[in-house]
Symmetry: C2
Subunit: 445 residues, 2 copies
């Protein structure tokens, strides 16, 4: 079965308190909805910081983000709040995934769906209500999930005869169905996947990392031989690629545990009844938490281009009214050029904010590349491009031609470079941390 | 709020019994899982019919589909079973959506997601557990949903202080969050959508049409003025287009009902506090049921090309071994040509079945176009193309050139034509049935 993922062990400091406790330190919040209210209060602070916008001090949007080195956990929550990735639901431990956070998840879905299709897996959907008796059929399953179950006991106004489990994972119900669908070796391998919400009654919760309800994909496969099942697991691990680098995926060779518990059998080529060999694997919204923690910095979020909802933001710059038309027209053309080339681009032409404020805001939102266009750029037919992952002047290139083919090629190259660079850093960070821990003191550090 | 959809009133005969009762007529089924078991038994019949494959009688795969005119409800369930669109879950009234059925839903999702994005709506995700007290805050909501609720009363091994509702729809939790996010007119309009599972404790269930749990998208919007809300509703209805023709969508102008119940207010341009004006709208997996009922016939499913998981099936035909290589090679080329043109194509080159069996099988699965390629077609560099929606020789065209540009243009034209033709038929059917009902006897007929 899919055991709880342990990404946080890698990235968060052992001293970080569960947010429930941390947030209560504020004291003044209504008792009924402490998390949500505190989150809301924090957001108001951010909004107020934004309002005190000052062209000279363009750090407005950063003021509410705790430095990462000072308090990792506070930094993580501040980034989620300020970048509007998620908010707290009204029920303890639940999370609302806001549009910017959900768009990251959609990028992951799109990537995985393509891979699943290429490797012969079909999407489908299983009901989320599982008879309680199913959970008890497989030993490791009872042990692993019993303490974490949410149970429906009333339906349509009546007490139910058998309690229903809100799925924590679907191995049991999948096997119940596999037993109906699989008769002969010709029905194998059976390779399926579902995108679904799952529920685990976690006591210590943190947005994306560990929530009562989360979203994931769960793959389930059945094979005629243990070798085939083993190969499936390798295929999946290769497919997960950089996902595995972040420890946000899980894959299991289940052997015949579930097929024996649910009598999932097939007639083999020699006419013998055999239990199928199975695997399961999953990637969840925890992966979004992993991205935030792995790549963020004091300025906020830093998104790998492949999952960024906005890959390039264009900030037009003008002072005099007579400059405005030419600058905005050039910015619009650049936007169209990039959009047509399949790049996710946003033009921030709002007039309520200064360019400096916008620079900081979109850095905080983790947009990989920024294009600046001012009157002089318009005259020279070029733009300035800044990388989110390389701070200051080092990450800035001047005089990139607006000519579509040149500009598109430059932007695509740079996005690829950022993608590789962020991945390399993440792997190096993980490896160095695995190698260097020789004592408990090292581990704490 | 999103009230239960009533598509079935339009399409199913009033005499159709709930499947639970119908299936029990078989008598021999285990008491614990009557639906699932009967479904499984039926599937075994189908499999056995397939095994008795006979090249002369190519009707093998149709034998288990009850004629539509004889018993509409039995026909509907037979089509779902034989085309492997769905199966029954272990809990009464739940449904497993199988890959072929889920692929239809994915086509609908893809279409709608594009439309949502074009019209400025963002996807996001709200938790499915709603505090029971929320449901009681809005009068029509309590009345509409109380009898249909599934309640979680135990979490993590403990009785909960407040029961949690498994969402039947999300207006209440959406408004709870909107109240936090909306402060000023600048935050409006707020246009969001979520793809989610919802739960309603229905007593009379039928696959796709009415199940305890189903999948849907639910759009929720908040506006500064009633006019804007009204316009949103019109935009959505225009967007739903052919969906509305099937009565499978629902859209509501909620006025200020929920904003008053949840105090969702904003500061308008004159500095006054105002309650927002809202809309909500939804399309569910019931739409798949609508497609089956609207377009199917005695041969099985008939899918509109836009939602068909397979738009074109290629059946190669050969008798002598020396013909096989040339036929299969031509069939593969044709497949590649269509695939490259973005057409969803399948080559059925299995050798266990006769061409006649395959014709019937893929007709039953509702594939809009069939391409037949035999030795004579290879010699003449042409193919035979048959339409699913026009039976027999009338729907068959001979001698279509294999030349890629000609073939692709022909196939695309034909798919467009089938799409329009099916929609016209559905609208004509609906309109004629609305106009002609003058008495209860007419209605029954």
């Amino acid at each position: 079965m899919a055991v709880p993922l342990r990404l946080t062990h890698l990235f968060s400091s052992p001293s970080s308190l569960p947010i429930l406790r941390r947030r209560r330190l504020h004291g003044t919040l209504p008792r009924t909805l402490p998390l949500a209210a505190s989150f809301s209060a924090q957001r108001a602070e951010a909004a107020s910081a934004k309002t005190q916008d000052n062209p000279k001090s363009s750090k407005g949007s950063e003021q509410v983000i705790t430095p990462r080195s000072q308090d990792f956990n506070a930094w993580y929550l501040d980034v989620i709040a300020n970048a509007e990735l998620a908010d707290y639901g009204p029920v303890r431990g639940t999370m609302v995934i806001r549009p910017y956070g959900y768009a990251i998840w959609e990028s992951i879905q799109e990537y995985l769906n393509l891979k699943f299709k290429e490797t012969g897996h079909s999407n489908m959907y299983f009901p989320q209500f599982i008879p309680y008796s199913f959970i008890e059929k497989e030993a490791s399953h009872v042990e692993g999930f019993s303490p974490e179950l949410a149970l429906v006991t009333i339906g349509g106004g009546k007490e139910l005869e058998e309690k229903l489990v809100v799925r924590p994972t679907s191995e049991t119900i999948v096997n119940h169905m596999f037993t109906k669908w699989i008769q002969s070796y010709r029905d194998l391998p059976l390779l399926i996947n579902q995108w679904a919400n799952v529920t685990r009654w976690e006591m210590r919760t943190k947005p994306f990392v560990r929530t009562l309800e989360f979203l994931w994909q769960e793959g389930h496969t059945a094979h005629a031989t243990p070798q085939e099942a083993e190969n499936e697991t390798y295929t999946i691990e290769a497919m997960m690629g950089d996902k595995k680098a972040l420890q946000a995926g899980t894959s299991h060779n289940l052997g015949q545990n579930f097929s024996r518990a649910f009598e999932t059998q097939f007639l083999d080529e020699t006419g013998q009844m055999q239990h199928v060999w199975q695997t399961s694997w999953a990637i969840s919204t925890r992966f979004v938490g992993g991205i935030i923690m792995t790549h963020g910095d004091d300025a906020g979020l830093m998104l790998p281009p492949k999952v960024a909802p906005i890959q390039v933001v264009i900030v037009p710059i003008w002072k005099k009214d007579e400059e405005k038309v030419a600058v905005l027209s050039a910015a619009s053309s650049v936007k169209e050029v990039l959009h047509s080339a399949g790049i996710k681009v946003k033009l921030d032409d709002s007039e309520q904010r200064t360019p400096g404020w916008k620079f900081n805001f979109w850095e905080m939102k983790g947009v990989p590349l920024r294009i600046e266009i001012g009157p002089r750029d318009v005259s020279s037919g070029s733009v300035v491009i800044s990388r989110r992952d390389v701070p200051g002047k080092q990450g800035k290139v001047f005089g990139i031609s607006m000519e579509p083919s040149i500009l598109v090629a430059f932007v695509k190259d740079r996005l690829d470079e950022i993608q590789s660079s962020l991945l390399e850093r993440a792997i190096a960070f993980r490896d160095s941390n695995i190698v260097d821990v020789n004592s408990y003191d090292d581990l704490k550090a």
